[in-house]
Amino acid sequence: MSVIADVPGPRARRWSLIASVVGGVLIVAGLVWVIVFLAQPRVNAGGVEVPGMFDPSRLDILLDRAMWRAIGRGLIGTLQMASVAAVLALAFGILLSMMRTAATAWVRVPAIVLIEFFRGMPVLLMMLFVLLVFSTGSYWAGVAALAVYNGAVIGEALRAGIASLPRGQRESALAIGLTPVQARFQIEFPQAFRQMLPIIVAQLVVLLKDTSLAFILGYNELLNVGLRQGPTTFGQQYLFTLFFVVWAVYLAVNLLVSAIARLIARRTSGWHRSGRRGRRADLVAAQLGGAGVAGATAAALPSEFGTPVSPEDAATDG
């Protein structure tokens, strides 16, 4: 519930129910109208009557094995580009955030320039640049541009995460005798990574979506295979159906990754609140996974101080 609508009384609830039903009916009516509109046969620019969008002559492709194989090929192309680019983007982002927060201006300033420049560039322009200047072929042009762009965004997110930590974290790390570099790697960075993990995963969804830009370079990814080659292979009348197939595949993959992002967000935010004493019990229970209370204090300690040893730890259990 949002802030504005407070707990409704009986009259407000009745009113809200009526409005909800009316709104629902309107929305359904709109959908029905769209479907009826789409189902009508229509006359195309050449004056020829073409069947409606749900005519069997347009839908029979859904039963065609060859079409699904083509979509699968496109999806694999998309995932190949996205996965390699994601790994490189993470590595580049971590590197940039380290440079960006360095004490030495010689390291910090180039990182600022790189982050600001890459974040401000359209991904498509960077893809074209790599393709035309380095003649890498469309796959590596796409991977490189996506890695650099999303790496800059992730780097900036990690920097913000480090900046948002309480000052005491670094001060106490230095006070117990860690060197500045140790403090950064062992105390600050793991916390920042954890805190920014939802944003990073959300950025990976952006990366996944942006792989579709590579179709402009002619790379064989989902959109290119489904919507450019599909109609020429199977027939122009299937374009409409193919569009919805491709859309559904994109939605399925992206919603899956988004759902993971939300799950992580919920867990990390719960983790942050449970850093305070109030939800310690929940935390311990969650950590032990029902293994009993015997090891409770031991399990609670490291997470109370919130310092997983390495970023990898934070990534897997955050």
């Binding site: 929305i27 401000g120 359209p122 074209l128 035309l132 579709s212 992206n254």
Partner: protein
């Protein structure tokens, strides 16, 4: 360098087209996004559900697919638009859920006492939204909104793939005849984009600092 000077009119035309796409679809997305955000916080369940579905569907669809829909699928069902209009509509639709989410986060970021006080002095839902919540929400969300607009600036480049002659499309045309000046041409285009994004980013930073003082 010659290639750029000779083709400067083309670049300026492309730049103007980019600006036009940015301005028109930016305004349209702001309007649409505000409406969606309002629906998203409304007390009516059906409208909330509609807005949530709209947001989830569009946010998880690649921009390329949205533009493909506007440019090539709409004509199939008898809605013929010229490519610039199709790209503008596609960019507005794609950007609107991001605007809506930014505004919604602003609305949810306002302390609950504001809403309670507004209702306590007898304002209706519409009044409390219009007079109390949204003015504060907008102020809080100006930096994220500017970030959405920066993203939109960069996204206009995707229209190059859909027969709109904006900066990237111009650069591709010019490169075809000036292959030896590829790097210079692409850097020139990059500078044009920075002409838009750097001032916007500066504005976002400045505003963020001011808002932080206010809170």
């Amino acid at each position: 360098m010659n290639a750029i000077v000779e083709n400067l009119p083309a670049f300026v035309d492309g730049f103007l087209m980019t600006l036009r796409l940015l301005a028109v679809s930016g305004v349209a997305a702001l309007v649409l996004g505000t409406i969606i955000a309002t629906l998203r916080v409304s007390p009516v369940g059906a409208l909330r559900g509609f807005a949530a579905t709209y947001t989830e569907l569009l946010r998880n669809t690649p921009l390329t697919l949205v533009l493909f829909f506007c440019a090539f699928i709409l004509p199939q069902i008898g809605i013929r638009l010229d490519y610039v209009l199709a790209a503008t509509i596609g960019l507005s639709l794609y950007t609107s859920p991001f605007i809506a989410e930014a505004i919604r986060s602003g609305i949810n970021g306002i302390s609950i006492g504001q809403a309670e006080a507004a209702r306590a002095i007898g304002l209706s839902f519409g009044q409390s939204l219009r007079l109390v919540i949204l003015p504060q929400a907008f102020r809080m969300v100006i930096p994220p909104l500017i970030n959405v607009l920066i993203a939109l600036t960069k996204n206009t480049s995707v229209a190059a793939g859909f027969a709109v002659i904006e900066l990237v499309a111009v650069s591709r045309q010019v490169i075809q005849f000036n292959g030896n000046a590829t790097i210079a041409i692409l850097v020139a285009v990059a500078v044009f984009y920075l002409l838009i994004t750097i001032p916007l980013g500066q504005a976002a930073n400045a505003l963020e600092r001011r808002v932080r003082v206010l809170r």
